[in-house]
Amino acid sequence: MTFHTRSLISIILLSAAPTLHAAAFNAPAGSYAPSQVLVQFKPNLTSAMQSQTAQSIGAQSIQALATRSNWSIANLPAGQSVAQAVAAYANNPNVAAVQPNYIYHTMAVPNDPQYSQLWAAKNTGQTITAGTYAPTTGTAGDDMNLEAAWNVQTDCSSTIVAVIDSGVNYTSTDLAANMWNGGAAAPLHGWNFVGAGSNDPMDLNGHGTHVAGTIGAEGNNTIGVTGVCWKASIMAVRVMDATGAGTTSSVIQGIDYAITHGAKILNMSLGGQGPFDPAYSAAITRAQTSNVLVVVAAGNSNTNNDAAPTYPCSFTQPNLICVAALDQNYALANFSNFGATSVDVGAPGTNILSTWNGLHTTITDPLNAGWVFSSTTATAAAPSGWGYDLVNPNVMGDALTPTGSQWGFTKYNAGTDDRTYKTFNLAGTNTNVALLSVSAAANLINGDFLNANFKAIGGDPFTAGTNVFSGTNAKDGFILTPSPKFDISACISTTCSIGFQLTSTPTSLRDTGVAIANFRIDTVTLNSTAQNTINGTSMATPQVAGVAALVWSHNPMFTYADVANAIKDSGRPTPSLAGKTTTGKAVDAMRALSYINQPSGLSVVVH
């Protein structure tokens, strides 16, 4: 062989350098077999030469694949990583191609009919048909990688998750099988700490049922949706009333109940922008002492929790994970709070379909007909009392101008008792909840009052009725829209009268009184099949609580710190969360399941 020929052969060999599959170096852990590579030897290389080649790189053995393509599996020696082997084979002149032996899983997909609407589990870019947050379509792949995770774990029932919220509709056909069994002491799967309390944590609001469904709506049962956990043990702890309001006292009782009864994870999709709450903080610490993980919502005010703390998110205990909301393109939702030191991770929180508590309907009144008016002082000369504002439609006012009937320019009388009421049929079909909301503009001298009352048996609600709210000493005061909701469920009947009363002292200096607008009654009829699609960091939080339950169920020896590390450290780096959260990551269920904590406690003895 002449030099030139030899050189030509060398050139051929170099130019036919083995294919180094760059994907090998970017392949995520767990995506390939740990002690093997696939090697394609050059054509016409004998078996003996193939073996020799593999041995020279340290292979324990090679085995030709039953293909026509000349591939073999090379089993690596102890201590050689796949990346090292790929590099070594890539540099060998007898090798045409080398790659990891990738692992493929069947993706676990549940048979729930609305599964395709759960973009958080699998984002294909689908349109969420009942979505109200734009965009309602998203980016394929921007999801929590749940199908891969479900190939590993679907059953969270060994890890009790307490939904500390407005209660749970435990009769929901998609939740009933996954409710915690509290035995005789808690026959309705939890406890109610609102007001005087009871053993019935039924959800009269809907929020808690939605949260519960995201965590653990029964999966693969041919009904409705699935939660992050197909099987679960959900403890219903009611700390918020039908309007979605709770207090420190109800919340801390709920936390202590959950801890005492074996919950390992607490989901609290609630918040307040009040000052630091010592009693609440102490309850979180009691949870920490009991090895309980607490997952909470960041809040929906689009504010920086680092600058304006919101609790419980801004508590600093290590057993607490605070969650921001992502949209279908994994952008930070425009309502989501954030905080580089206080908010930890992001998870899907827009257009989230889940279980609901029942049928919600709304009665609105135009405030221009059907109301009964009375006044103890009104005369032609000194008009006072309620009436329809003819200049501002859909407003009732006291007092109105004598001509033109316009509110805001005429003062009410001193020593007056002006009333107006109307009768509503709230009974419907098994109505369980009724909530009143109004807007009101008020100019009242101190000591002159606006009262709102109801009476279930009809007639004047200011005679033996029930007070809803009262107020005095107002100047340009408003109950803003959307106004707070007042629970008038005790008025559910076919003859519920609701009314407004303006009273003034005999020596009142008087003012222009009150205008009522936007009168609305929301009713709820509980049922077992309702669903709803809503938005909030409240919806992102149970995604994470569900993943925590998957992780802890898969690893029963874990501490809360192990679970928190697995969730926070393994997440997927997401640009919209960078600088807005402590981790800059979106939760990834499969990576959380496969995450391995750092070994510790190394010690050595030298002999």
Binding site: F25, A29, I596, N597, Q598, H607
Partner: protein, 131 residues
Amino acid sequence: MTLSQFFSFKSSSIALLTALTITACGGGGGSAPPPPIPTSHVVNLSWTANREAAVNRAGGGYKVAISGQPVIDVPFPYAASGAAAVATLMSGTYSVTVTAYSAMNANTGIAASGVTSNSVPSAAFTITVPY
């Protein structure tokens, strides 16, 4: 020998002695002592067992990386000593890390650049093996 020969001999001896420079060993101008001879030592390593279920079943284990040494694989099932490894090291200083793995998370953390690991190596631990 005559007295004059003796005194001559003695003088020349004294001169010879005077001419001799007595140099202390190890002082300036002498050769360095030989370096210590490295010796081989058995080193027992142990660590707190990981709590991941997958590390504690088939496909799981630990990789012990000692600087300048082949990686020690400690696969499941573990010996009675549990999370432990034995190495034979020559005198010197070594840095040790331990990384757990499982069938779900094969990468040991001893990664080529660009490989994403979902397993966190331990903090580095320094071993000093004496001479």
